[in-house]
Point group: C2
DNA sequence: CAGTATCCTGTCCGATACTG
DNA sequence: CAGTATCGGACAGGATACTG
């Protein structure tokens, strides 16, 4: 990315975006969750130019989302398999998937997530495993953590002040 | 975006990326969840160039994530507040957040999500509300939905065939 | 099958200056 | 405070040709 370097930034969202912020990266991972591993299968399914595919795959290997593995000597053939980190990212893609299906499927859902055990469609939600509650609304908030810097703390304090001045009824509306 | 037009594509992930696929969009929304609504507050917190901020805000309003609202006549002053759709996207950002904290916080978490009722840190997971199970592993799969086109179905069938030939032990590994 | 090599275009983004 | 206007650079992404 050609913008400001965010590697120094503490926000995990910004950090994450630096690894997989590109358009194709997400789509490649999406197909990886389908079980796709081969270069040509990616290329064909995604309709992506081969040089771009090379670049994105290389990057994904670099940041530890995929592993380039030789599955055949003579001739040497490689495939791209998910690492633990890459597999763990599936929850993000599925959250995205669920949101997309909720908001951009006026003509019906073309693809759905199912539970193969029950056979039913699943509409996944983000929950707190400790309480079982759905994570939404003002109850859940992002605050400085144990490794917070002074900058973070002061930024957060500034926000709190602004909140005092005008209660954000706007945000709480959505239950 | 200067790449292939995906608006015709049925995948909700691709569709979603078209709305908020840009780098700053996600970060702007992240700050909106903090309660930020004003142009200058966004600019200062994000360190973004004003023209870029204008572009991204405009886009986010266009796609229905934010609403531009006049909060003062004489002089006219505007603020950007989350719509339902924008608020709903928070689960995606939080999934991203959680993943980032799991994988890129070697020196400790600078920010954390907390439950303000219990006061405890929350590590949210994606679950199926119907069964209460965590959505992960091969049990959950994406398949053609009710509005699937022939293209989707045949692509899916093709994948199934490939799966028969080589069971993807790779993907199931990760439990 | 799994890429590499080249060339080109669009646009994301930053920097800076200016305005009601 | 909330932007607009203009400029330039970097790179994502596309198209195409070629290789072991």
């Amino acid at each position: 990315m050609q913008h400001t370097d965010f590697s120094s930034m503490p926000c995990p969202v910004a950090r994450g975006l630096e690894q997989v912020g590109e358009w194709w990266s997400i789509l490649i991972l999406r197909d990886a969750y389908y079980g796709v591993t081969r270069f040509d299968e990616f290329r064909e399914r995604l309709g992506i130019a081969p040089n771009m595919l090379t670049r994105r795959l290389k990057k994904l290997v670099e940041v530890g989302m995929l592993e380039r593995r030789c599955y055949n000597q003579h001739p040497p053939r490689y495939e791209y398999v998910l690492t633990d980190r890459g597999r763990d990212f599936r929850s993000v893609v599925l959250a995205f998937f669920a949101w997309g299906n909720r908001h951009f499927a006026e003509e019906g859902r073309a693809v759905i997530l199912i539970d193969t055990v029950t056979g039913k469609e699943v509409e996944p939600v983000l929950t707190d495993p400790a309480t079982g509650n759905v994570v939404e609304g003002l109850r859940y908030r992002v605050v400085p953590g144990p490794a917070a810097t002074d900058v973070i703390r002061s930024r957060h304090a500034k926000l709190e002040q602004a909140r005092q001045r005008s209660l954000p009824a706007d945000f709480s509306q959505g239950k």
